[in-house]
Symmetry: C2
Subunit: 193 residues, 2 copies
Protein backbone atom coordinates (compact mmCIF):
# COMPACT_ATOMS: atom_id res chain seq x y z
CA UNK A 1 0.00 0.00 0.00
CA UNK A 2 2.76 2.44 0.78
CA UNK A 3 6.40 3.13 0.85
CA UNK A 4 8.27 1.02 3.42
CA UNK A 5 10.69 2.30 6.05
CA UNK A 6 14.27 2.61 4.92
CA UNK A 7 15.64 2.02 8.41
CA UNK A 8 15.43 -0.70 11.02
CA UNK A 9 13.46 0.46 14.03
CA UNK A 10 15.40 -1.69 16.47
CA UNK A 11 18.77 -0.46 15.26
CA UNK A 12 17.60 3.14 15.38
CA UNK A 13 16.22 2.64 18.87
CA UNK A 14 19.50 1.21 20.07
CA UNK A 15 21.24 4.32 18.74
CA UNK A 16 18.75 6.38 20.73
CA UNK A 17 19.57 4.34 23.83
CA UNK A 18 23.24 5.17 23.35
CA UNK A 19 22.43 8.85 22.90
CA UNK A 20 20.26 9.15 25.99
CA UNK A 21 22.64 6.97 27.96
CA UNK A 22 25.71 9.07 27.40
CA UNK A 23 24.07 12.49 27.36
CA UNK A 24 21.01 12.21 29.55
CA UNK A 25 17.48 13.13 28.59
CA UNK A 26 17.77 16.88 28.77
CA UNK A 27 21.14 17.23 27.09
CA UNK A 28 20.36 14.91 24.20
CA UNK A 29 18.86 17.06 21.46
CA UNK A 30 16.40 15.66 18.95
CA UNK A 31 18.72 16.74 16.14
CA UNK A 32 21.64 14.83 17.62
CA UNK A 33 19.52 11.79 18.37
CA UNK A 34 18.10 11.75 14.85
CA UNK A 35 21.61 12.00 13.41
CA UNK A 36 22.84 9.10 15.56
CA UNK A 37 19.84 7.08 14.46
CA UNK A 38 20.47 7.92 10.82
CA UNK A 39 17.07 9.55 10.44
CA UNK A 40 15.87 12.85 9.16
CA UNK A 41 13.78 15.01 11.45
CA UNK A 42 10.62 14.01 9.67
CA UNK A 43 11.24 10.28 9.95
CA UNK A 44 12.26 10.73 13.54
CA UNK A 45 8.97 12.31 14.58
CA UNK A 46 7.00 10.13 12.23
CA UNK A 47 8.29 6.92 13.71
CA UNK A 48 8.70 7.76 17.39
CA UNK A 49 6.21 10.50 18.16
CA UNK A 50 8.16 12.93 20.28
CA UNK A 51 11.25 13.09 22.44
CA UNK A 52 9.53 11.85 25.56
CA UNK A 53 7.97 8.91 23.71
CA UNK A 54 11.33 7.99 22.26
CA UNK A 55 12.90 8.09 25.68
CA UNK A 56 10.33 5.72 27.12
CA UNK A 57 10.84 3.31 24.21
CA UNK A 58 14.60 3.59 24.65
CA UNK A 59 14.27 2.84 28.35
CA UNK A 60 12.14 -0.18 27.50
CA UNK A 61 14.75 -1.39 25.08
CA UNK A 62 17.50 -0.91 27.66
CA UNK A 63 15.56 -2.81 30.30
CA UNK A 64 14.53 -5.70 28.10
CA UNK A 65 18.03 -5.85 26.64
CA UNK A 66 20.88 -5.18 29.05
CA UNK A 67 19.07 -5.74 32.32
CA UNK A 68 16.82 -8.69 31.57
CA UNK A 69 19.60 -10.51 29.77
CA UNK A 70 21.91 -10.21 32.76
CA UNK A 71 19.22 -11.44 35.12
CA UNK A 72 18.35 -14.37 32.88
CA UNK A 73 21.98 -15.37 32.67
CA UNK A 74 22.61 -15.16 36.41
CA UNK A 75 19.36 -16.92 37.23
CA UNK A 76 21.05 -20.13 36.04
CA UNK A 77 23.58 -19.99 38.88
CA UNK A 78 23.20 -21.21 42.47
CA UNK A 79 21.79 -18.46 44.74
CA UNK A 80 25.00 -17.31 46.32
CA UNK A 81 26.89 -17.15 43.04
CA UNK A 82 24.00 -15.33 41.41
CA UNK A 83 24.06 -12.59 44.03
CA UNK A 84 27.84 -12.26 44.01
CA UNK A 85 27.86 -12.53 40.24
CA UNK A 86 25.53 -9.58 39.83
CA UNK A 87 27.82 -7.33 41.84
CA UNK A 88 30.90 -8.58 40.02
CA UNK A 89 29.14 -7.96 36.73
CA UNK A 90 28.32 -4.38 37.66
CA UNK A 91 31.94 -3.75 38.67
CA UNK A 92 33.25 -5.06 35.38
CA UNK A 93 30.71 -3.18 33.29
CA UNK A 94 31.38 0.02 35.19
CA UNK A 95 35.14 -0.20 34.84
CA UNK A 96 34.95 -1.47 31.29
CA UNK A 97 33.14 1.55 29.90
CA UNK A 98 35.71 4.21 29.01
CA UNK A 99 32.97 6.81 28.90
CA UNK A 100 31.85 5.98 32.45
CA UNK A 101 28.21 6.34 31.59
CA UNK A 102 27.01 4.25 34.52
CA UNK A 103 23.60 2.64 34.15
CA UNK A 104 20.97 4.27 31.99
CA UNK A 105 18.25 3.27 34.43
CA UNK A 106 19.93 4.83 37.43
CA UNK A 107 20.97 7.90 35.49
CA UNK A 108 17.33 8.34 34.60
CA UNK A 109 16.37 8.10 38.25
CA UNK A 110 18.22 11.31 39.02
CA UNK A 111 17.43 13.03 35.76
CA UNK A 112 14.71 15.62 35.50
CA UNK A 113 12.66 12.92 33.85
CA UNK A 114 12.15 11.45 37.32
CA UNK A 115 9.60 14.20 37.86
CA UNK A 116 7.48 12.65 35.13
CA UNK A 117 5.23 10.11 36.86
CA UNK A 118 5.21 7.63 33.96
CA UNK A 119 8.97 7.63 33.65
CA UNK A 120 9.44 7.50 37.39
CA UNK A 121 7.18 4.46 37.51
CA UNK A 122 9.19 2.74 34.80
CA UNK A 123 12.46 3.50 36.56
CA UNK A 124 11.06 2.27 39.86
CA UNK A 125 9.89 -0.86 38.06
CA UNK A 126 13.37 -1.52 36.67
CA UNK A 127 14.96 -1.11 40.08
CA UNK A 128 12.22 -3.35 41.45
CA UNK A 129 13.30 -6.05 39.01
CA UNK A 130 16.84 -5.86 40.30
CA UNK A 131 15.65 -6.09 43.89
CA UNK A 132 13.35 -8.98 43.02
CA UNK A 133 16.32 -10.79 41.54
CA UNK A 134 18.26 -10.38 44.77
CA UNK A 135 15.29 -11.26 46.95
CA UNK A 136 14.59 -14.41 44.96
CA UNK A 137 18.11 -15.72 45.29
CA UNK A 138 18.57 -14.60 48.88
CA UNK A 139 15.43 -16.47 49.88
CA UNK A 140 16.51 -19.55 47.95
CA UNK A 141 19.94 -19.42 49.56
CA UNK A 142 18.50 -19.03 53.03
CA UNK A 143 16.16 -21.94 52.35
CA UNK A 144 18.95 -24.30 51.31
CA UNK A 145 21.37 -23.03 53.94
CA UNK A 146 23.99 -21.58 51.62
CA UNK A 147 23.17 -18.05 52.79
CA UNK A 148 23.04 -16.91 56.41
CA UNK A 149 19.58 -16.20 57.80
CA UNK A 150 20.87 -13.72 60.36
CA UNK A 151 19.31 -10.90 58.37
CA UNK A 152 15.87 -11.00 56.73
CA UNK A 153 16.09 -11.57 52.98
CA UNK A 154 13.88 -8.51 52.45
CA UNK A 155 16.36 -6.22 54.17
CA UNK A 156 19.32 -7.83 52.45
CA UNK A 157 17.71 -7.34 49.06
CA UNK A 158 17.40 -3.62 49.79
CA UNK A 159 21.04 -3.50 50.78
CA UNK A 160 22.24 -5.27 47.66
CA UNK A 161 20.15 -2.97 45.51
CA UNK A 162 21.70 -0.02 47.26
CA UNK A 163 25.20 -1.32 46.55
CA UNK A 164 24.34 -1.65 42.87
CA UNK A 165 22.87 1.83 42.74
CA UNK A 166 25.84 3.36 44.52
CA UNK A 167 28.34 1.53 42.34
CA UNK A 168 26.75 3.01 39.26
CA UNK A 169 26.78 6.49 40.73
CA UNK A 170 30.39 6.18 41.81
CA UNK A 171 31.33 4.77 38.43
CA UNK A 172 30.23 8.02 36.81
CA UNK A 173 32.64 9.83 39.09
CA UNK A 174 35.48 7.61 37.84
CA UNK A 175 35.71 5.50 40.99
CA UNK A 176 38.37 2.79 40.79
CA UNK A 177 38.14 -0.92 41.37
CA UNK A 178 39.07 -0.68 45.06
CA UNK A 179 36.17 1.62 45.80
CA UNK A 180 33.65 -0.49 43.94
CA UNK A 181 34.84 -3.78 45.35
CA UNK A 182 35.11 -2.21 48.79
CA UNK A 183 31.38 -1.61 48.63
CA UNK A 184 30.70 -5.18 47.64
CA UNK A 185 32.91 -7.03 50.11
CA UNK A 186 31.12 -6.23 53.38
CA UNK A 187 27.74 -6.73 51.75
CA UNK A 188 28.78 -10.19 50.60
CA UNK A 189 30.14 -10.90 54.07
CA UNK A 190 26.56 -10.67 55.32
CA UNK A 191 25.77 -13.82 53.37
CA UNK A 192 27.76 -15.80 55.91
CA UNK A 193 30.68 -18.24 55.60
Amino acid sequence: MARPREFDEGVALQAAVDGFWSQGYGAASTRDLAARMGLTTASFYNAFGDKRGLFMKALDQYLSGTLSQRIARLDQLPPRQAVAGYLADVVERSLGDPQRRGCMLINAALDVTAQDPDIRAEVAGGLGEIRAFFLRHLQAGQADGTISSAQPAEDLSHLFLSVVVAMRVMARLHADRDQLEGMARPALALLGP
Copy 2:
Protein backbone atom coordinates in the same frame (compact mmCIF):
# COMPACT_ATOMS: atom_id res chain seq x y z
CA MET B 1 33.43 54.83 45.92
CA ALA B 2 30.35 53.38 44.40
CA ARG B 3 26.83 52.22 44.80
CA PRO B 4 26.49 49.27 47.20
CA ARG B 5 24.67 46.03 46.47
CA GLU B 6 20.96 46.06 47.18
CA PHE B 7 20.85 42.32 47.88
CA ASP B 8 22.53 39.96 50.30
CA GLU B 9 24.88 37.61 48.49
CA GLY B 10 24.38 34.77 50.94
CA VAL B 11 20.59 34.92 50.74
CA ALA B 12 20.72 35.04 46.96
CA LEU B 13 23.13 32.12 46.86
CA GLN B 14 20.85 30.05 49.06
CA ALA B 15 18.02 30.74 46.62
CA ALA B 16 20.30 29.51 43.85
CA VAL B 17 21.00 26.35 45.86
CA ASP B 18 17.26 25.72 46.07
CA GLY B 19 16.84 26.31 42.37
CA PHE B 20 19.62 23.98 41.30
CA TRP B 21 18.61 21.45 43.93
CA SER B 22 15.05 21.05 42.79
CA GLN B 23 15.59 21.48 39.06
CA GLY B 24 19.10 20.27 38.38
CA TYR B 25 21.81 22.17 36.56
CA GLY B 26 20.54 21.83 33.05
CA ALA B 27 16.89 22.46 33.72
CA ALA B 28 17.43 25.51 35.90
CA SER B 29 17.45 28.51 33.58
CA THR B 30 19.36 31.64 34.42
CA ARG B 31 16.13 33.61 34.14
CA ASP B 32 14.41 31.42 36.69
CA LEU B 33 17.41 31.41 38.99
CA ALA B 34 17.74 35.18 38.84
CA ALA B 35 14.04 35.54 39.64
CA ARG B 36 14.33 33.20 42.63
CA MET B 37 17.32 35.17 43.82
CA GLY B 38 15.50 38.47 43.39
CA LEU B 39 18.06 39.76 40.91
CA THR B 40 17.88 41.23 37.48
CA THR B 41 19.88 39.58 34.73
CA ALA B 42 22.58 42.22 34.95
CA SER B 43 23.09 41.88 38.70
CA PHE B 44 23.03 38.14 38.36
CA TYR B 45 25.93 38.06 35.91
CA ASN B 46 27.67 40.93 37.60
CA ALA B 47 27.76 39.20 40.95
CA PHE B 48 28.19 35.55 40.03
CA GLY B 49 29.94 35.47 36.68
CA ASP B 50 28.08 32.82 34.74
CA LYS B 51 25.82 29.86 35.28
CA ARG B 52 28.61 27.40 35.82
CA GLY B 53 30.33 29.69 38.32
CA LEU B 54 27.08 30.14 40.19
CA PHE B 55 26.59 26.40 40.33
CA MET B 56 30.00 25.83 41.81
CA LYS B 57 29.39 28.52 44.43
CA ALA B 58 25.99 27.01 45.17
CA LEU B 59 27.55 23.59 45.58
CA ASP B 60 30.11 25.08 47.94
CA GLN B 61 27.36 26.70 49.97
CA TYR B 62 25.44 23.42 50.09
CA LEU B 63 28.49 21.48 51.23
CA SER B 64 29.63 23.96 53.84
CA GLY B 65 26.05 24.34 55.05
CA THR B 66 23.95 21.20 55.05
CA LEU B 67 26.70 18.61 54.89
CA SER B 68 29.39 20.05 57.11
CA GLN B 69 26.87 21.01 59.76
CA ARG B 70 25.51 17.49 59.93
CA ILE B 71 28.98 16.03 60.21
CA ALA B 72 29.99 18.50 62.90
CA ARG B 73 26.88 17.68 64.91
CA LEU B 74 27.31 13.92 64.64
CA ASP B 75 31.02 14.11 65.39
CA GLN B 76 30.04 14.83 69.00
CA LEU B 77 28.49 11.39 69.40
CA PRO B 78 30.20 8.07 70.23
CA PRO B 79 31.34 6.24 67.08
CA ARG B 80 28.50 3.79 66.78
CA GLN B 81 25.82 6.38 67.36
CA ALA B 82 27.49 8.74 64.91
CA VAL B 83 27.39 6.15 62.13
CA ALA B 84 23.83 5.08 62.86
CA GLY B 85 22.81 8.69 63.37
CA TYR B 86 23.99 9.67 59.92
CA LEU B 87 21.84 7.05 58.28
CA ALA B 88 18.84 7.93 60.45
CA ASP B 89 19.35 11.56 59.56
CA VAL B 90 19.36 10.83 55.83
CA VAL B 91 16.15 8.82 56.19
CA GLU B 92 14.38 11.63 58.00
CA ARG B 93 15.61 14.30 55.62
CA SER B 94 14.62 12.22 52.63
CA LEU B 95 11.13 11.48 53.90
CA GLY B 96 10.67 14.97 55.29
CA ASP B 97 11.08 16.73 51.96
CA PRO B 98 7.71 16.81 50.19
CA GLN B 99 9.47 17.61 46.92
CA ARG B 100 11.73 14.55 47.21
CA ARG B 101 14.71 16.41 45.90
CA GLY B 102 17.22 14.00 47.39
CA CYS B 103 20.70 15.36 48.00
CA MET B 104 22.05 18.14 45.84
CA LEU B 105 25.52 16.63 45.90
CA ILE B 106 24.38 13.23 44.69
CA ASN B 107 22.00 14.71 42.15
CA ALA B 108 24.97 16.62 40.77
CA ALA B 109 26.95 13.39 40.51
CA LEU B 110 24.58 12.05 37.87
CA ASP B 111 23.88 15.37 36.21
CA VAL B 112 25.56 16.35 33.00
CA THR B 113 27.75 18.56 35.13
CA ALA B 114 29.61 15.41 36.16
CA GLN B 115 31.33 15.57 32.79
CA ASP B 116 32.93 18.82 33.88
CA PRO B 117 36.22 17.86 35.59
CA ASP B 118 36.11 20.69 38.14
CA ILE B 119 32.58 19.93 39.19
CA ARG B 120 33.24 16.22 39.22
CA ALA B 121 36.19 16.83 41.49
CA GLU B 122 34.07 18.88 43.87
CA VAL B 123 31.36 16.24 43.93
CA ALA B 124 33.92 13.52 44.53
CA GLY B 125 35.36 15.65 47.31
CA GLY B 126 31.97 15.99 48.98
CA LEU B 127 31.37 12.27 48.83
CA GLY B 128 34.89 11.79 50.14
CA GLU B 129 33.98 13.88 53.19
CA ILE B 130 31.05 11.61 53.90
CA ARG B 131 33.20 8.53 53.56
CA ALA B 132 35.91 10.10 55.74
CA PHE B 133 33.26 10.71 58.41
CA PHE B 134 32.28 7.05 58.35
CA LEU B 135 35.86 5.84 58.23
CA ARG B 136 36.86 8.01 61.19
CA HIS B 137 34.08 6.72 63.41
CA LEU B 138 34.36 3.13 62.23
CA GLN B 139 38.05 3.11 63.08
CA ALA B 140 37.39 4.72 66.46
CA GLY B 141 34.67 2.18 67.19
CA GLN B 142 36.86 -0.72 66.20
CA ALA B 143 39.64 0.66 68.37
CA ASP B 144 37.46 0.92 71.49
CA GLY B 145 35.64 -2.34 70.77
CA THR B 146 32.15 -0.92 70.27
CA ILE B 147 32.23 -1.87 66.59
CA SER B 148 33.06 -5.32 65.23
CA SER B 149 36.40 -5.68 63.50
CA ALA B 150 35.23 -8.57 61.34
CA GLN B 151 35.31 -6.27 58.31
CA PRO B 152 38.02 -3.71 57.54
CA ALA B 153 36.92 -0.17 58.39
CA GLU B 154 37.93 0.91 54.87
CA ASP B 155 35.49 -1.50 53.26
CA LEU B 156 32.75 -0.66 55.73
CA SER B 157 33.13 3.02 55.01
CA HIS B 158 32.55 2.32 51.32
CA LEU B 159 29.46 0.33 52.16
CA PHE B 160 27.99 3.03 54.39
CA LEU B 161 28.65 5.62 51.73
CA SER B 162 26.87 3.43 49.22
CA VAL B 163 23.86 3.15 51.50
CA VAL B 164 23.69 6.92 51.80
CA VAL B 165 24.01 7.38 48.05
CA ALA B 166 21.36 4.79 47.31
CA MET B 167 18.97 6.22 49.90
CA ARG B 168 19.15 9.58 48.21
CA VAL B 169 18.54 8.08 44.80
CA MET B 170 15.62 6.02 46.04
CA ALA B 171 14.22 9.03 47.86
CA ARG B 172 13.85 10.81 44.52
CA LEU B 173 11.75 7.91 43.34
CA HIS B 174 9.43 8.34 46.34
CA ALA B 175 10.70 5.32 48.24
CA ASP B 176 8.99 4.80 51.58
CA ARG B 177 10.43 4.39 55.05
CA ASP B 178 10.53 0.59 54.84
CA GLN B 179 12.76 0.66 51.79
CA LEU B 180 15.15 3.21 53.22
CA GLU B 181 15.39 1.59 56.64
CA GLY B 182 15.65 -1.81 54.98
CA MET B 183 18.85 -0.61 53.38
CA ALA B 184 20.22 0.63 56.68
CA ARG B 185 19.42 -2.35 58.92
CA PRO B 186 21.74 -4.98 57.44
CA ALA B 187 24.53 -2.44 57.07
CA LEU B 188 24.23 -1.56 60.75
CA ALA B 189 24.18 -5.26 61.60
CA LEU B 190 27.73 -5.43 60.30
CA LEU B 191 28.81 -3.26 63.21
CA GLY B 192 28.24 -6.23 65.52
CA PRO B 193 26.21 -6.67 68.69
